[in-house]
Symmetry: C4
């Protein structure tokens, strides 16, 4: 009923901020101790050490979500308006974001199983690909601001959005070689993005 | 105390975005494995296959919610202001939206029982009827923008809002004939809406 | 560090919408069946009938929350700016709103106990008193728009905000006389507010 | 891809309001009775008295979160724009805020253990330090409004942001001396902030 061509972006920003806020807060439920261990009056120090890998998973997922949220922020800083297709790319993106607390609980509950690691990395890969699709579609269909086109942001955006899917592929490939440790490779994402930021700042 | 005649729509958009974001994220809890199966060190591959129907339910409900959110977006793109009655139609709508994670868990936990399928389809039917009521009321009481009246959006909106309740009725009618498979008919909703979008685009 | 005298109201609206959205969605968790009954393959029809009082509680709490959210909407429609004290009245209000899902679960789990009914009604009473305090404070400190003062909204607001605490007191007083049925008296709130709305509309 | 120098602050406000709203609402889950005690038809009066320390923890955490939210509100009242670094200080802040429901559940489940109290106070300390860093960074990098610089808000902000970490250190230091009671010292935060507010008001 509506030509959504001219649809403003504030609703999609509201839904996205809400979903990221919940997904990031839901992660903390991963840290809760099982009721049984609490009831049996378990020694807290011991319980906490047993949960260290969960704390690591929590921090990993929280900061991946934060990196994605910042990327979303950057995308919509440049996107002037949406089309139905862009809206649906965004919804697919949110669907894969919502799955992150679940795949995080998988690597928490099934610590030693490569399949859990594969599902987690696959989830991050899909999020990354959808961000890339989002940016490429917006650029091709001239939905970006003029400033974005003039200042070379379009190409830079493609490069930055390639980081997540490439690193996720690397993680997946490394699972057979470094079982249980592959997720550390995700730290390449913030390292690369920070380096890229510094390079671009210096150039100006 | 307030004549709400002139009440702006930003608060209702804020509450709605929050409720949709939370409902969409809550769905993922459906995918969690029961604690017992985790504790017994169950084989992950086996567990995941056993949960495939839950993943399907998650995706079905997530995309139905997304379709509803897009519809809400489209409605309030045209609605200039609210009245107390419109506000309450919207609140009834949100009440039925909030029930979707519950009725999704019903079809997950009671996979083979027609009553569960009936409740789920009934829930979607109620959401659809309330969207129709929302649009019809706004149109009758001249709460829409002038553009909406000029461009024939009002009639098109009635047609598009009829899709969900009609398909939900179809699903309910099909339960005795295709028990366990009726929910696949919900895919008629995106198919019809997409076809309608293409038709309208070509006409211009 | 900041004189909050001139603080705008959009942040308090954002936090409030978020908290109402979560509280309203959290209520649905009340409806979930206990894991045990699902595991034992209980008959769904039977389970649902056993949960009817929970569905009633869900609807009661959902619509009380909705009435409060509409009231908040109306208050901040007229409130131009906030002071630190108004901000804290609002935070106390949100604290009592957040407790509603908990006191709803009490009347669900302890169906026949007067203490549970007393806590639920007491919770609603506190929310009502804080709304009254919010409006009275804003009116006394001239934080309302000029329109609100001119059109007699201030006095009308006092009357409307008295409805919830008075009805809640009535409910509490009725517990010894109609144990298990007292909560039906809460329907006096929407009845009175609707009647009041009709009266005011006719007068104009 | 984007120079975030000129990035507006509305998205960070949206994410922050969502996370605070969710964290504040999640706290209420602390109050739920264990399923077992409900099933055994426990006496409600007895159960509630057994939960009194949880109610206290709920109120403590709720109002600490509220104080932090008000502080965030005050900070961003003066912050004109963000930089990538400020964005990430804010994300670290949100990460420590998200952990508060978890550390609150620790002091609820492990009532008598100093380690739980230490983790809770440590969590509050980290939140406080990050608020201080947020304000100091914004002031040093001239991201504040002119009014903030002129009226001495910058220095006042430093003082006010020192309250939380200093009190949290005091709480941690007091654990060996007043085990189980140290958290009462957190009430120094609202006392000091209120006193400071009164002093500044009188001075004008």
């Amino acid at each position: 009923m509506a030509e959504q061509q001219g649809l403003s972006t504030h609703r999609i920003e509201g839904l996205t901020d809400g979903i990221f806020a919940f997904a990031m807060t839901l992660l903390v439920l991963e840290l809760q101790f099982p009721d049984a261990s609490v009831a049996s009056g378990g020694q807290l120090t011991f319980l906490i050490f047993g949960q260290m890998h969960r704390l690591y998973n929590f921090l990993l997922s929280f900061f991946l979500l934060a990196i994605f949220w910042v990327a979303h922020n950057q995308h919509y800083h440049h996107i002037r308006k949406t089309t139905p297709l862009l809206l649906w790319i965004n919804i697919l993106l949110l669907c894969s974001v919502v799955l992150i607390p679940f795949s995080t609980s998988l690597i928490g509950d099934f610590e030693s199983q490569p399949l859990a690691e594969l599902i987690f990395a696959g989830n991050i890969f899909v999020v990354g690909i959808l961000f890339l699709a989002n940016w490429a579609y917006a650029a091709r269909n001239k939905l970006l601001t003029d400033v974005a086109f003039e200042k070379g942001h379009v190409f830079e955006g493609i490069i930055q959005n390639l980081v997540t899917p490439v690193v996720a592929l690397l993680v997946m490939a490394s699972i057979p070689f470094i079982p249980g440790w592959s997720s550390y490779l995700f730290f390449l994402i913030p390292i690369f993005l920070t380096w890229r930021g510094i390079v671009r700042k210096r150039r100006k």
